[in-house]
Symmetry: C2
Subunit: 685 residues, 2 copies
């Protein structure tokens, strides 16, 4: 069976080697691998697999850190990024922020040690959750240029800033401070009260395309409108993305683990490490959403005692506990550990990017309420933009974001993309071969996932793994947006077709009448009655204008039917704290969720009737297309308002439920997704 001499053994003809010596030979080669060494050799896992990408990754890691630090310290971020060409390959990157700074003793570990950080153990949304990014950049700079990184940090107004030159000892994953020698390790930095400057030399390649540093910063500005970013490119051109919103997103709060989707091993680890004394206390203290009553119930169902010591429980007892925990119903996790962008700012952000494309339709964005996968809360957000100058014959553009960070690479490997691919967009008016895959059409689809732990497929944080729960939520949001797109397209389509008919009738009928009149030598008869008979529709034309800080809405209703008509008109306006002014006629109902209803007076045949109202307190871009419905009328008789959906109230609530804390535990499963069923489909990539 010994076909050739084993590695490292000298082969002596005729002498059979015993397997022990072979196992021992192999054993000698067994060695520990330092995490730096591992990533030094596998830098592609960190995203440093091409010079172009390396430059982008470096900027991304530094900027993400700055944003996290500023937000944690409650500071509106001012960030400047500068790239300078050193030689043919080498660049110098400088990223400066106005964050709280880093205490000098911490600088070496933060920048010179992989797997070291402040955000890994905290259950709340943040950009940097791995403790790898910036030190990986320092390491990449050192590998490619041989140079240390220079960190300058100031933590207090009237004190000098600390300066350190950092390298990484990759054999041991430890930081080496290689300079500067005192007194140069402190410098004055008067223009800043506090902040950090990171200077890293690295090999790279600068491009100005879709997947560039500029594009990353631009998209970062979109989803972080509270940030000022300035950028100087290697040719010295500068650009600025000015703060569009001077409030920070609400700070995210650390939460305890949510019991949903917990694994046995994790539960045992928690139970053995807990500081409380007994099982019931453990459940109440170490998890969120377990009340005293629920803890009691779980303990009862598990067959254990409330006073059981979790540190001494065995495997079977933990198994019983987990079973009991899994069969209980929990409130969704608290929402304050997450910081979604929100419908208003998504819209603002998208409008900001797409001004020159003049799209005809911005679908109202959808922010789903938080869910949980394997104990980690997450939230999906989606927006769709359609038409205008967007290219009609190409796949739609997908803008992907995770925890407010743009994802520019690995689109094909990302569950955000897969979610888009698995929706049948033909139902919503986009072209799609076979009902799956990236649809074609003049559209941009924006997807954001916020989570206390985004399950990236690698340390490069370029793509989100195929977690069925996440895919399910994104798909629901996409379908909701898709439905709205379809309503828009239907409305547009019917209007276009009816208008064409209208124009023909209005053009031809008078000609016929004139001709006939001439022949029979009688005067031309009045035609409006005839036209209405032929058209036989109620025509609704609406408009929104923004003037003097007010949205003015006008809805003109033309009765082109031979009879008097009467129906209810419904409009939906953004719910968030808006003043409805001077509505004429008065609506019979204005609900908190933004739903307005008019019971219209009878409108005579050929009469035009106008409904008008004004909204105050809304950002201009937050309202530009009316959502109109009609009830109490044959839907085929009315053009320009959709029939009121049967589940209207539910549908609206769905969109706005994230505003409020749900009242009852997990009962709003309106569209249940069988995640288990989905697993196979998901993995079928």
């Amino acid at each position: 069976m010994l076909a050739y001499p084993p590695l490292g053994c000298t082969y002596t003809k005729g002498v059979s080697l015993s397997m022990t010596s072979m196992a021992e030979q192999l054993a000698k080669k067994q060695k520990e691998i330092s995490v730096s060494e591992f990533f030094e050799r596998n830098r592609q896992i960190l995203g440093f697999d091409s010079p172009t990408k390396a430059l982008l990754m470096a900027v991304k890691e530094a900027v993400d850190n700055s944003l996290d630090a500023c937000e944690e310290a409650g500071i509106l971020p001012d960030i400047s990024v500068k790239l300078e060409k050193v030689d043919d390959k080498e660049f110098k990157m400088t990223v400066e922020d106005n964050g709280p700074g880093i205490v000098p003793t911490m600088i070496p570990n933060v920048f010179g040690r992989l797997l070291f950080g402040s955000r890994f153990h905290a259950i709340r949304q943040s950009r940097g959750q791995q403790g790898i990014g910036i030190s990986a950049t320092v390491m990449y700079g050192q590998i490619t240029t041989g140079k240390p990184s220079r960190i300058t940090s100031k933590t207090e107004k009237d004190k000098p800033a600390a300066v350190k030159l950092i390298m990484i000892n990759t054999k041991h994953n430890t930081p080496d401070v290689v300079g500067p020698a005192p007194p140069n390790d402190y410098v004055m930095w008067d223009e800043k009260e506090h902040g950090t400057r990171v200077e890293i030399n690295l090999n790279g390649r600068y491009i100005a395309s879709k997947q560039s540093v500029y594009e990353y910063l631009r998209q970062t500005a979109i989803v972080n409108p509270h940030t000022n970013i300035s950028f100087v490119d290697p040719d010295g051109n500068s650009s600025t993305f000015t703060r569009a919103w001077d409030k920070l997103p609400p700070p995210t709060k650390e939460i305890r683990p949510h019991p949903e989707g917990l694994e046995l091993g994790t539960l045992m680890n928690l139970g053995r490490a807990t500081r409380v004394k007994n099982l019931k206390e453990f459940l109440k203290t170490d998890f969120c959403r377990i009340s005293d009553r629920l803890a009691k119930e779980i303990v009862e169902r598990s067959g254990l005692r409330e006073t059981a010591k979790t540190t001494q429980m065995d495997l079977d007892q933990y198994k019983a506990l987990l079973g009991a925990m899994q069969s209980a119903k929990y409130l969704p996790p608290p929402t304050d550990c997450l910081s979604p962008i929100g419908e208003a700012l998504i819209r603002k952000g998208l409008k900001n990017v797409l001004d020159d494309m003049r799209p005809e339709f911005y679908s109202p964005p959808v922010t789903r309420s938080p869910r949980v996968y394997s104990g980690n809360p997450f939230q999906a957000e989606v927006g769709i933009v359609y038409g205008g100058n967007l290219p009609a014959d190409q796949p739609v553009t997908i803008l992907r974001f995770a925890n407010r960070v743009p994802l520019l690479y690995q689109q094909g490997a990302c569950v955000l993309t897969k979610s888009v691919e698995s929706v049948d967009w033909r139902r919503y008016g986009l072209e799609q071969r076979g009902g799956s895959g990236i649809p074609f059409g003049p559209a941009i689809i924006m997807v954001h996932v916020a989570s206390t732990k985004v399950p990236f497929t690698s340390e490069a944080k370029e793509a989100v793994a195929s977690i069925p729960e996440i895919q399910g939520e994104i798909e629901l949001a996409l379908r909701e947006c898709g439905r709205r797109l379809k309503v828009h397209l239907n409305k547009k389509d019917t209007k276009v077709r009816t208008k064409a008919k209208f124009e023909i009738v209005q053009e031809i009928l008078p000609l016929i009448a004139e001709k006939s009149a001439k022949i029979v030598k009688k005067p031309v008869p009045p035609l409006s009655g005839t036209i209405t008979k032929i058209m036989n529709v109620v025509w609704v034309d609406d408009s929104v204008t923004y003037e003097k800080k007010r949205h003015r809405v006008k809805v003109d209703i033309y009765n082109y039917t031979p009879k008097q008509t009467r129906f209810n008109l419904h409009a939906v306006v953004p719910a968030s704290s808006i003043e409805l002014l001077r509505a004429e006629p008065r609506p019979v109902e204005v609900k908190e969720d933004g739903k307005i209803t008019w019971e219209l007076r009878p409108i005579r045949s050929t009469e035009k009737f106008t409904v008008a109202f004004e909204l105050e307190g809304l950002e201009p871009e937050l309202y530009d297309e009316n959502e109109l419905y009609a009830s109490g009328i044959d839907p085929s008789m009315i053009i320009g308002a959709d029939p009121l959906p049967g589940d209207w109230d539910v549908a609206r609530l769905k969109v706005t439920e994230m505003q409020a804390e749900p009242a009852a535990p997990a009962e709003e499963e309106e569209e249940e997704v069988d995640y288990d069923e989905q697993t196979e489909a998901l993995n079928d990539d």
Copy 2:
């Protein structure tokens, strides 16, 4: 600027917090993260992101390890895999091999510690290069079931086997041996002389689809025909993949780093760690492909002295050295660090899978000669299968392999897929929208990359990163295979069309003749002359049969032209050590690369002439379609043989160059690829 109180600080109204206290607050949260802890939280990076995938990953890690160990010890692998259902979620996996075993003291570290292994530091092709896989599986089992993994290992015939129950302390990334207590830590294991048995309990989900354990084992058998694999699935059904080849692949040898694509930092690390005394010795000893002459030349060009101490050189000196090293020309790396599957076994493997599909064409596989990316040797191999019962209206199937391991997930993220997508397959007869993307058609494309370091996009080893050099080589191989497919399709197409014409002429002409003869009351005239005038082609029909260990080739040439014809016939047969027997007529030339040429005698109009020969020493599946060319004749006159390409010799040499060590340094860049240029395109995913 302070918009809200920083995290962890109590906000006191009117009291401004100093930034230092903020920086200090944040500093307190800075913590080291153990690598186990990191992957415990980010198990999706290891591929354990769904129950289905988890089961597959576990089997894959265990089997890959077994194959590596057997091959390193020179043992033909016998591997058995068994999956048993424990409960609704939990499975027990047992993988057993006949490898050399693991010495007992090593077992804890090998299975209970991430980033520990024997293959990480060695520059040669192996499956497990990360030191993560199997311990990650142990950790996943422990997280999901709370149970330890059981390892049994025997290293010597007449001794008992060591048994250990292993868990991982994830806080510190250290192994915990939790049992069994002596004397149960040694057991008799008589049925094996040596080997290892790994038993891991883990949560999972068993499916029998495309991305299943069965499929992984089947594809493993394809690219490892020297392996016996038996499998018992959770329902108790067993399958066996029997060894089809009883030779091990040649053992891969460790090499020193290749100087091409070396980074400055890596060079400095090597220079500072070297055991030799001076610069010239360092170049000669620590790298492959640097001869005494070349070392001298590099030193000279760098402006340094031969006796310079590399341990004391500074950054600028290293930069000068790197510059000089980069401007030198090197031989490709030695090929014995790699173990490509080879054209013969690729063909055998593909035939093995596809027997029931009855494809009409197996393109001769292409194995490119080794190249280097960032100092790492690699080699690309490609095969194409076409037609038969393969579905014609679907995207082609892509079979991806890296270092003889099938890749079943993340197809979209993989450079192997991207290479397929970036070839314009319309030129080679497949349907493809816009000339890029996965083509449609009845085809299977198999791509294998072998490397001393496969640049996987993550620790899950599911996809290969977009390295321009790798993509370039795969594309060249794909185009070569595509060209052969096109030749086949052309031949088939012309034959089909001409045959149709032929049949019509042969059917109608006699009818017309008969009718006319009847009318004019004369006998039916002989028609062969007329038919040839209408057809006016030389028709070549060929066949291959395999009998009595010989391939019998027959080429029938029909002269359906009104004139005598004379031309040269060329055939290409596999070059590898084949006996050409009883060629009739005798060829004028038989080249080493398998090219055979006949100068045919004149063939009269309507005459049939036959060329026949036999090949001995070839596996039956290695030759089943003739590659025929003709010269000295108007190409439009001949059906069934392609015109001899102008670059024929070059083209043939291209395919066979991997057989021999190139004679001159890097001068065979026949199709130079500008890798820099490609970077952008590549990253545009």
